[in-house]
């Protein structure tokens, strides 16, 4: 028997693999975390306000109160994630000290740094980061992200941006696969992505880490659509606890992700869930209100 090694990229990325085919739900209280766990969430994201409320309230959105995060950690046995502002190294250190299982360096909070993301290799706790396209995803992986989520447009209940970002990332992956090997350095230059990671994508036809959908998923059909497009799982934020019947909707979305290829099951679970969250037409958002534009 050899000694145990902790905090390696293999452990961080392997942990993210365990979420696949699952739903990660935003929660703001220990009670909501219990509802999410009972509904079959594979993890919960502890935050002070769901994106719909951050959008409504305005102001600066920051890391949550450690007391609330500790209450949520105490309330459930599934992994607990929490968000830090882009570039906020100290918020991340605090979450790691609290024993959070995964950190989301998230554009949903107000960025702390307008140029640099956190060097995630420096942490033992794994990170998930948002991306709108392949170059952005590979830059985050290059910094040490163990998981990527497409950004979507959080808090809108409108899936169009999540679809756009998923199609962009997956389309760019296919495009790279079709390129001859000698063109990859130029591809890396154009994408502004690390060459070695571009080579990985060329060889394997996928990102080096798990890739979830996020931002605007509000119905079981939305969640199944993201799986159908080829993503590994789904984050749901405002979509559950801003709907009429969070318990039923949460359960239905979990089942939709498992049975995304089975329209009969999807028809059955989509029935009679009560009203979904009220959505926002993204075309009506002024550019400053678009969260997906944060990060680079």
């Amino acid at each position: 028997m050899t000694e145990a090694t902790t905090g390696t990229p293999a452990l961080k990325q392997g942990f993210a693999e365990m979420f696949k085919g699952g739903v990660i739900m935003d929660v703001v209280t220990a009670d909501q975390a219990r509802i999410a766990e009972a509904a079959g969430a594979t993890a919960v994201m502890a935050l002070e306000r769901v994106p719909a409320d951050i959008r409504k309230d305005g102001g600066v959105a920051r890391m949550s109160d450690p007391k609330m995060i500790k209450e949520i950690i105490g309330a459930v046995s599934i992994p607990v994630m929490a968000k830090v502002r882009i570039g906020h190294i100290v918020e991340a250190q605090i979450l790691q000290a609290l024993g959070v299982d995964f950190i989301d360096e998230s554009e949903v909070l107000t960025p702390a740094d307008d140029q640099y993301h956190i060097l995630k290799h420096d942490f033992k706790v794994p990170f998930v980061c948002g991306a709108k396209n392949l170059g952005e995803a590979l830059r985050r992986v290059g910094e040490g992200a163990s998981m990527i989520r497409t950004k979507g447009e959080a808090g809108t209940g409108n899936v169009i941006e999540a679809v756009r970002h998923a199609r962009t990332v997956l389309g760019e992956i296919k495009h790279i696969q079709a390129r001859p090997a000698e063109e990859l350095m130029t591809v890396a230059r154009d994408l502004q992505a690390p060459y070695e990671l571009v080579r990985y994508v060329h060889e394997h036809g996928k990102l080096p880490v798990v890739n979830f959908a996020a931002g605007g998923v509000a119905t079981p059909a939305d969640a199944a659509l993201m799986m159908h497009l080829g993503l590994d799982g789904v984050f749901v934020g405002s979509g559950i606890f801003k709907s009429d019947n969070p318990e039923r909707r949460a359960q239905a979305i979990v089942k939709a992700v498992t049975h995304f290829q089975n329209p009969e099951v999807l028809a059955e679970i989509s029935e009679d869930l009560g009203a979904p969250m009220t959505g926002i037409n993204i075309d009506d958002l002024i550019p400053a209100e678009r969260l997906a534009a944060r990060g680079w």
């Binding site: 028997m1 145990a4 452990l11 365990m18 992994p79 024993g99 992700v257």
Partner: protein, 196 residues
């Protein structure tokens, strides 16, 4: 050729599928009871045991899985899958009451026995039946806190049983599917081809 299934409700089922296919097995993804027809063995993968247990209830998979075992099917659970096979589960969320499990393995399994994600670790394990250390990936892993008389302990770490076998049921607290070392998958496939 062995025909084996991987329970594909949630978790690392694709990695198991890839390992089995590297070894030449015919692999089916199992989401509903009917998917078990014609299989010799089934792997229950890592993931979140509460999520999988919930979906197993929703899709009435408990009895079909027990029946599959009873008619000679081989079973192997890794991490969350091992929890699902066990007789008793410790460390389940209190609001769930007792966590459901298949009860096909006479052990008490302790969830998250080694701590949270920052405590997750890799190590080389000595395993009965294998020559040379097996690269084991423990992610928020369980351990077999109590092992019944009929259960063979195949490996221990830090004084706790982490790989066990009882008849046609194999359980490992770690994730062989994440390592590229297919020796345990090979052992499992051999078991699937041995007449019960």
């Amino acid at each position: 050729m062995a025909r084996v299934g991987v329970l594909a409700l949630q978790g690392a089922f694709r990695e198991h599928r890839a390992a089995l296919e590297r070894l030449g097995a015919q692999v089916a993804e199992v989401r509903l009871a009917a998917d078990l027809d014609g299989l010799h063995g089934l792997i229950l993968p890592g993931g979140e045991s509460t999520t999988m247990a919930r979906l197993m209830t929703e899709y009435a998979l408990w009895e079909p899985l027990r029946a599959f075992h009873a008619r000679g099917g081989q079973l192997w659970g890794t991490c969350a899958g091992a929890i699902l096979l066990s007789g008793e589960v410790q460390g389940a969320p209190p609001q769930f009451g007792r966590q459901d499990s298949l009860g096909l393995l006479d052990v008490t399994v302790q969830r998250n026995a080694f701590g949270r994600q920052i405590d997750s670790f890799t190590t080389g394990l000595d395993m009965r039946g294998l020559t040379g250390a097996f690269p084991a990936v423990f992610i928020r892993a369980p351990a077999f806190a109590r092992v019944g008389e009929g259960v063979e302990v195949l490996s221990e770490f830090d004084g706790q049983a982490v790989a066990v076998r009882q008849g046609r049921v194999l359980a490992t607290a770690f994730h062989p599917e994440l390592t590229g070392d297919d020796r345990l998958h090979e052992l499992f496939l051999q078991g699937c081809l041995t007449p019960a």
